[in-house]
């Protein structure tokens, strides 16, 4: 029974402006001299990305996250995934997590498409026969054919995106966290991509998608939340939340 919840979660990113703020010697000097020696820069500033946030997602949920740029959507997804640990509050999760966040991370330009797909599959936790099947299936999906045996540095950005997307959506997990990934690609590919994500969602217990596109919300989600300045301002049906977001 997969479920995931955040209770009173606060995430604050430090904003480092000068090297002094990340220098061990500056910190040591200040500490050992009881604050005498050290420029008075009031330490590091923080950006409050998530502010005392509560969110519970039950099994069977298909949740969409909308919000303006900088409202905290990606941070929320990363916190749900466990990639970011909140400074305050707790994260409780039951079930395996799969994420489609920054696709393309881990891509080695000198290796071939197949080698990269195998590596990314490993990073997503696939092994053995499951890995082989996933790579075969994703290879067919990309329609890159003989290019898959060539180094990825010979690909166009659209081809790289196809490869990464194919592998990212080849994983199977009970909780899927997806961050606005259907971007580049020709219209033929986008149709295939949408169908693929639908299959992915159908096989998962919980799906959370962050997006700006109404079409994605209608296609994959049954409820939505709206983020603003690190808080959830609204939760409800897609129509209601979209009306508030678009206003």
């Amino acid at each position: 029974m997969p479920n995931i919840s955040l209770n009173g979660v606060t995430v604050a990113y430090p904003v480092v402006i000068s090297g002094r703020q990340q220098s061990a010697f500056a910190a040591a000097t200040k500490a050992m001299s009881f604050g005498r020696f050290g420029r008075d820069n009031h330490g590091v500033d923080y950006v409050m990305a998530l502010n005392n946030l509560d969110l519970t997602i039950k099994e069977g949920s298909r949740l969409g996250i909308v919000g303006r740029n900088g409202s905290g959507k990606s941070t929320l997804l990363k916190t749900l995934a466990g990639i970011i640990t909140p400074r305050k509050g707790a994260r409780v999760v039951n079930g395996s997590i799969g994420c489609v966040l920054n696709i393309g991370a881990g891509l080695e330009l000198e290796k071939t498409g197949y080698e990269n797909m195998r590596m990314i599959a490993r990073l997503y936790g696939l092994t053995g026969a499951t890995l082989r099947d996933a790579v075969d299936e994703a290879s067919d999906f990309t329609e890159l054919g003989p290019f898959l045996s060539m180094p990825v540095r010979t690909y166009s950005s659209g081809m790289m995106a196809r490869l990464c997307f194919a592998m990212a959506t080849a994983q199977h997990a009970e909780i899927m966290l997806i961050d606005e990934v259907i971007g580049t690609g020709d219209s033929h590919f986008i149709d295939k991509a949408v169908a693929r994500i639908k299959t992915l969602c159908a096989n998962s217990g919980i799906v959370v998608v962050a997006t700006h596109a109404r079409g994605i919300l209608d296609g994959f989600c049954d409820e939505a939340i709206m983020m603003e300045s690190g808080n959830i301002r609204a939760r409800g049906s897609i129509d209601d939340v979209w009306a508030q977001y678009a206003a």
Partner: protein
């Protein structure tokens, strides 16, 4: 404890860290004909240079010294590489950390494994030298295996502590590189210490010297002194405890400072 279970999960993700570690070493030499053989060649060139210098100063053929260098330099690379790369462990893995929910100690295991992969290339020079000088290794060479394991544990422990520290404080990496350069000279790596040097605190209380000896001595036919082994095991255990403690405390905020 959450940190311990994370370390456990990381250690068992062999497929992932081994693949990245091998790629770290081998990937540097893609599109060159000799590939990782360049590692071996550069090590051999180093050894030849020091040997020729030594010979010009001390005169006479000294095959034992050649073997001493060929045994010692790879082991020093293993130890210092683990420490210097340890501070960069999370920084180099920034892309992975931000995209995949993998256990963080995985990126540290990758560094330690990578140091072993490099060592495996460099130790080839020792075997070639042993063959050329007709000095076959003795039975004592089996003691090199636990020696290597102890160094691996030390590297892991130290990196557990240094990786989050090196992410929070960016000048730690360069500072340690400088320190290891100094220690490379002060520790008897490319010269054989005389009795006076052996007794001095710089050598007797130098953990790197003892860890060097528990692998170098077996390669050269002796078992290493009990002092070498006791010091090395103690330092490995201390580094694991302290490193683990630092990691557990700093782990929640590492991702913020990348």
């Amino acid at each position: 404890m959450a940190a311990l279970s994370e370390i456990y999960r990381a250690l068992f993700s062999v497929q992932i860290w081994w693949a990245i570690a091998v790629e770290d070493v081998v990937g540097r030499y893609r599109r060159t004909i000799l590939g990782p053989l360049w590692l071996v060649i550069s090590q051999a060139a180093w050894i030849l240079g020091i040997y020729l210098l030594h010979r010009s100063v001390f005169g006479a053929e000294q095959k034992n010294f050649l073997l001493y260098l060929a045994a010692g330099l790879p082991v020093w690379s293993l130890i210092s590489g683990g420490i210097v790369d340890g501070t960069q462990a999370f920084l180099r893995s920034k892309g992975y950390i931000e995209s995949y929910p993998l256990p963080m100690p995985l990126y540290i295991v990758r560094i330690v494994a990578g140091a072993y992969v490099t060592f495996a290339h460099l130790i080839v020079v020792y075997f070639v030298t042993a063959a050329l000088t007709m000095t076959p290794p003795s039975l004592a060479i089996i003691a090199a295996l636990p020696g290597l394991a102890i160094i691996g544990l030390f590297n892991f422990g130290v990196s557990l502590g240094l990786a989050p520290l090196g992410t929070r404080f960016r000048d730690l990496g360069p500072a340690l590189t400088s320190l290891m350069s100094l220690l490379f000279i002060l520790t008897p790596v490319f010269y054989a210490p005389n009795a006076q040097q052996l007794a001095s605190p710089m050598v007797a209380y130098n953990p790197f010297y003892h860890m060097l000896e528990i692998v170098r001595a077996p390669l050269l036919g002796t078992w290493g002194t009990s002092q070498n082994w006791v010091f090395s095991v103690s330092f490995a255990l201390i580094s694991l405890v302290i490193g683990g403690f630092i990691y557990a405390r700093m782990r929640p905020t590492v991702a913020y400072w990348l």
